[in-house]
């Protein structure tokens, strides 16, 4: 399974980004090989539709789940249509987010929402 995590840094021990559409990188983790690659999120500087473009990017990376803080309505729409489920994380690192998902500790994002303060 391929997991995409919105990330602020190119490191497993780096901080996850709670924003999806405008995160800096996507950490792309393969649960079989346990390898993690980092892909720049080209949508970060979009004038509009960043969530849509970011969803397209993770779909292109063949991710099956996305771990992030929140998903906007349009991103949620595209991810749903692409068969990708989103799971909610709080302030954490990439590796901790992935372990929490694998331990089934994360809840699925079913409603669009704004970042929490």
């Amino acid at each position: 399974m391929t997991i995409a995590v919105s990330s602020t840094e190119k490191s497993m021990s780096g901080t996850a980004d709670l924003r999806f559409g405008r995160c800096k990188y996507f950490a792309v983790y393969n649960t079989l090989t346990k390898e993690c690659t980092f892909v720049e999120n080209e949508a970060i500087n979009s004038n509009q539709g960043a969530g849509i473009a970011a969803s397209q990017t993770v779909a292109g990376l063949k991710a099956e789940v996305v771990l992030t803080g929140n998903l906007g309505p349009k991103a949620l729409n595209v991810l749903n249509a692409a068969g990708i489920n989103g799971y909610k994380i709080g302030q954490t690192t990439i590796e901790n987010a992935i372990s929490a998902f694998q331990e089934k500790k994360l809840s699925q994002i079913t409603e669009p929402g704004r970042p929490q303060k």
């Binding site: 949508a43 004038n47 509009q48 539709g49 849509i52 397209q56 779909a59 595209v78 249509a81 692409a82």
Partner: protein, 285 residues
């Protein structure tokens, strides 16, 4: 003569200046503040016709589409997404540029018009009146401003009432103007946003001058700025309870004789400066 009234900061009196000057100078009035047009409140026009404004959105033929993703890739506005079940269109993000249709190698994309607002055309007290109105929830006023400009392109004398700020809508309104009239107020916010608007008209190479609305004796921050930047001060509109009362009743300030004189003086100076500046521009001075 095409004069655009803009401000930078919102609520400084663009519409007050544009509506009163249009009447005093007998110029056609065009409300380009399509997100919140309000010139009609003061000019009370008789509307003769309303024209629907459409933009073109792509329609994807599912039978021809191979889900190659080229259309979404070509879209600069992220209005398309390719998913295993088809191509998703977020129509409110679409600018109607047609790039997706060109990028599609299968010929699966055609375009269909979608209404985003209306243009009203009428007249009031001997001048023609036009106003654009963007539908609620639509984010993009540009095509409505383009429509207003297209309809009015043969009008010789017109005043365009811009939206506030320095965004795309303002740039679109300014495009092709002979002169820009910047309306501001003597506050730090007014001056701050005025500087942004001045930078914009300079960048676009449009001659410009400034009107100080709600002018208060003893506060010369805008006048000082005009002097230091060598920008023409076209006029001052005094801050008064009378002006606020007329405005709150939806009346033109020129209904009051004192204000009528002020606007006539401003109008004369505006036409003089605008004509001089635009002939300077033509002769390259």
């Amino acid at each position: 003569m095409e004069i655009v009234v803009l401000s930078g900061k919102g609520g400084t009196g663009k519409t007050t200046v544009a509506t009163n000057l249009a009447q005093v100078l007998n110029m056609n009035y065009i409300d380009c503040d399509v997100e919140e047009p309000n010139g009609h409140i003061f000019l009370k026009p008789t509307i003769e016709k309303q024209i629907d404004v459409e933009i073109l959105n792509p329609v994807i033929d599912k039978d021809k589409c191979t889900l190659c993703g080229k259309c979404a890739e070509a879209c600069q506005f992220n209005a398309l997404a390719t998913v295993p079940t088809g191509v998703m269109l977020f129509k409110e993000l679409c600018h109607g540029c047609g790039a997706c249709m060109i990028a599609c190698l299968q010929g699966a994309i055609t375009e269909v018009g979608r209404s985003i607002g209306i243009v009203s055309v009428g007249n009031t007290d001997g001048i023609s009146f036009m106003s654009g109105k963007l539908n609620i929830k639509e984010p993009m006023g540009g095509p409505i401003i383009s429509k207003l400009k297209e309809i009015s392109k043969f009008d010789d004398h017109k005043l365009l009432d811009s939206s506030p700020g320095t965004s795309c809508s303002v740039v679109k309104t300014l495009d092709g103007a002979d002169y820009a009239l910047l309306v501001t107020e003597p506050t730090k916010f007014g001056l701050h946003d005025l500087k942004l608007a001045v930078a914009l008209v300079k960048e676009m190479g449009i001659s410009h001058g400034i009107i100080v609305n709600r002018n208060i004796e003893g506060n010369s921050m805008i006048q000082d700025y005009c002097e230091s930047e060598n920008i023409d001060l076209i006029g001052e509109i005094p801050f008064s309870r009378k002006a606020a009362e007329l405005y709150s009743q939806g009346l033109l300030l020129i209904d009051n004789p004192e204000y009528k004189m002020i606007f006539e003086t401003i109008g004369t100076k505006l036409i003089k400066e605008a004509s001089r500046r635009s002939s300077d521009a033509i002769s390259g001075n």
